[in-house]
């Protein structure tokens, strides 16, 4: 199926502007995607028509808001193919999802000498919460190394697994390099030694079909804002029996069944983990982002993005001085690179002067950058609304910039 990209672009108001006198080319989609009009309109509609607090009010507006909020939960369940809606917890984002699991499951079930396995590809948000937990518990953090292409060394992972392994927390697709990890194999092997597995789906969820039952992961976390949805909203999926065994994360309203000064009993999942008034407007507006994705279908989105990436990679490879960083066989639509003799910051600024938005720096993956002995890269990441013409302009700009130091 060929997508009508111009039609899709029409749904994104932000794309139709000039930046520094040039038409905007937005290639920072791995940081956050733009939002279709339907999402923006849903935000506005909620505040202009339905605004009220959910789950408690005895009035029509509260009922409308509650139904709509819970409708999103049902849609997310379907999006991830979770077994039950109660397994879907709304968070602030991927980072909070990981912190929640570390602070509840980790604190309750980890003991001194236990091991947590992560990988070299991890974002800081999938490193630091586990370091804090290890420090508190006297547990040990182990890191799966990678090859020069940016792929996990699975035989090293095999060697790390033992009865001491309690948690394996790995990224599904790397934000800095795009590498898609063999997560089914990772999960299967972890389960054989009795470890639980958390998948960081921040980058994968916008590109790959996610089926948490088929994957058999114990936790899956993602962020709405990387899925054409609002910022400040994330999803934590967890298997029912695990979520039920976990203590609450934060205390407050919503998460309780009954409170006396002597003792509090906690609400059932998912509410046990949703203390306080949640991010109602963004949760409701997220429906429109999911509808947008579902209408096109992830296979079609992925096919378009892969076509753009392959086209870009072929053109960029011909530029003298172009150095790709991360060349895994399986990648989401991310191109991380350097130009010989130039600093990523300078490249980013020169691209910005051409209206091209990319990310530069360490991408919150300093240990990974250290593995390649670099401080950072330039990262161009593609989404469904990007075009071949935009790739052409990116390559022309990079070619011009590269010539400054690579004559």
């Amino acid at each position: 199926m060929t997508l009508d990209i111009q039609n899709i672009r029409g749904e994104f108001p932000v794309l139709h502007q000039e930046v520094n006198g040039k038409p905007l080319i937005y290639l920072d989609n791995a940081a956050t995607t733009q939002k279709p009009s339907a999402v923006l309109e849903a935000l506005s509609a909620y505040y202009t028509q339905d605004n009220s607090n959910i789950h408690r009010g005895a009035h029509t507006l509260a009922d409308r808001a509650t139904r709509s909020y819970e409708k999103t939960r049902a849609m997310v369940r379907e999006f991830l193919n979770a077994k039950e809606e109660e397994e879907i917890i709304f968070t602030k984002g991927t980072t909070e999802g990981i912190n929640l699991v570390a602070a509840t499951y980790g604190r309750k079930f980890l003991q001194e000498g236990d091991e947590i396995i992560i990988s070299t590809l991890e974002h800081h948000s999938n490193i630091v919460p586990w370091q804090l937990l290890c420090e508190e518990k006297g547990a040990i953090l182990r890191v799966i190394p990678i090859n020069d292409q940016g792929e996990l060394l699975m035989e090293e992972y095999d060697k790390m697994l033992s009865s001491k392994t309690k948690i394996v927390s790995v990224v599904h697709a790397s934000n800095a390099l795009g590498t898609i990890n063999p997560v089914r194999e990772i999960i299967e092997k972890a389960h054989k030694v009795g470890a639980k597995v958390l998948l960081d789906g921040a980058q994968s969820s916008a590109h790959l079909d996610i089926d948490v039952q088929a994957l058999d992961c114990d936790f899956f976390v993602m962020s709405a804002h990387k899925l054409y949805g609002p910022t400040g909203l994330g999803i934590l999926y967890g298997k029912r029996e695990i979520l039920e065994a976990m203590p609450p994360y934060q205390g407050g309203g919503e998460m309780i069944k009954e409170v006396t000064f002597e003792k509090t009993t906690f609400n059932d999942i998912p509410f046990k983990f949703e203390a306080g008034t949640p991010n109602i407007a963004d949760v409701i507006a997220f429906q429109k982002a999911l509808e947008f994705i579902n209408a096109i279908g992830k296979p079609a989105i992925r096919a378009h993005e892969e076509e753009l990436m392959a086209y870009a990679e072929e053109k960029l490879a011909q530029i003298k001085g172009f150095i790709p960083v991360g060349t895994a066989d399986q990648k989401v639509s991310v191109i991380s690179f350097l130009i010989n003799g130039m600093h990523p910051f300078d490249i980013g600024m020169m691209l910005d002067a051409n209206g091209i938005a990319v990310r530069t720096g360490h991408h919150c993956t300093q240990p990974l950058m250290g593995r390649f002995n670099i401080e950072g890269t330039v990262r161009a990441s593609f989404s469904v609304y990007n075009t071949k013409e935009e790739v052409d302009r990116l390559c022309e700009s990079i070619s011009k910039i590269a010539k400054l130091k690579n004559k």
């Binding site: 520094n20 600093h343 910051f345 600024m349 020169m350 002067a353 400054l404």
Partner: protein, 143 residues
């Protein structure tokens, strides 16, 4: 030698020719960086790194005939260009001139818009450090 005001006015004139075109301005700044005197390798020390800059900036100082001489380098070309402007204005001046300098050219050439907020903070750190060195030299030279 031109005074601090004259040099600043010269820079403003040079940037006016670029008519605010961002791309030309960035390329011009990088070219200025390339013209900067080579940085003495023995001064490339961690203690000479300026704090508050995202990119690495080394700043070393010396004194000649009662004037402060600045030398600097950076691992990014744009930053190097920015430092070269500061050196053009502030190096080979008396400590008093440096301390009293009102660096109006930065705002006049629209530097904040060109380099963005993070690099602007870095630029402020560089100026602050240069003025601190001038204060130190003023104290030393009076003794």
């Amino acid at each position: 030698m031109s005074d601090i005001k004259q040099v600043q006015d010269e820079i403003i004139d040079e940037f006016t020719i670029l008519e605010g075109d961002r791309e030309s301005t960035i390329y011009y700044i990088m070219e200025l960086g390339n013209r900067l005197d080579p940085f003495p390798e023995e001064a490339r020390l961690d203690e000479n790194l300026i704090k508050g800059c995202q990119s690495k900036v080394w700043l070393s100082t010396g004194e000649k005939d009662g004037k402060v001489i600045f030398k600097a380098d950076s691992n990014t070309d744009i930053t190097k260009g920015l430092i070269s402007l500061l050196i053009r204005v502030l190096s080979d001046r008396s400590p008093k001139e440096i301390i009293d300098a009102d660096l109006y050219f930065i705002e006049k050439i629209g530097m904040g818009n060109i380099i963005g907020s993070q690099r602007s903070n870095g630029l402020s750190s560089m100026i602050k450090q240069m003025k601190l060195y001038a204060i130190a030299y003023q104290t030393k030279l009076k003794v």
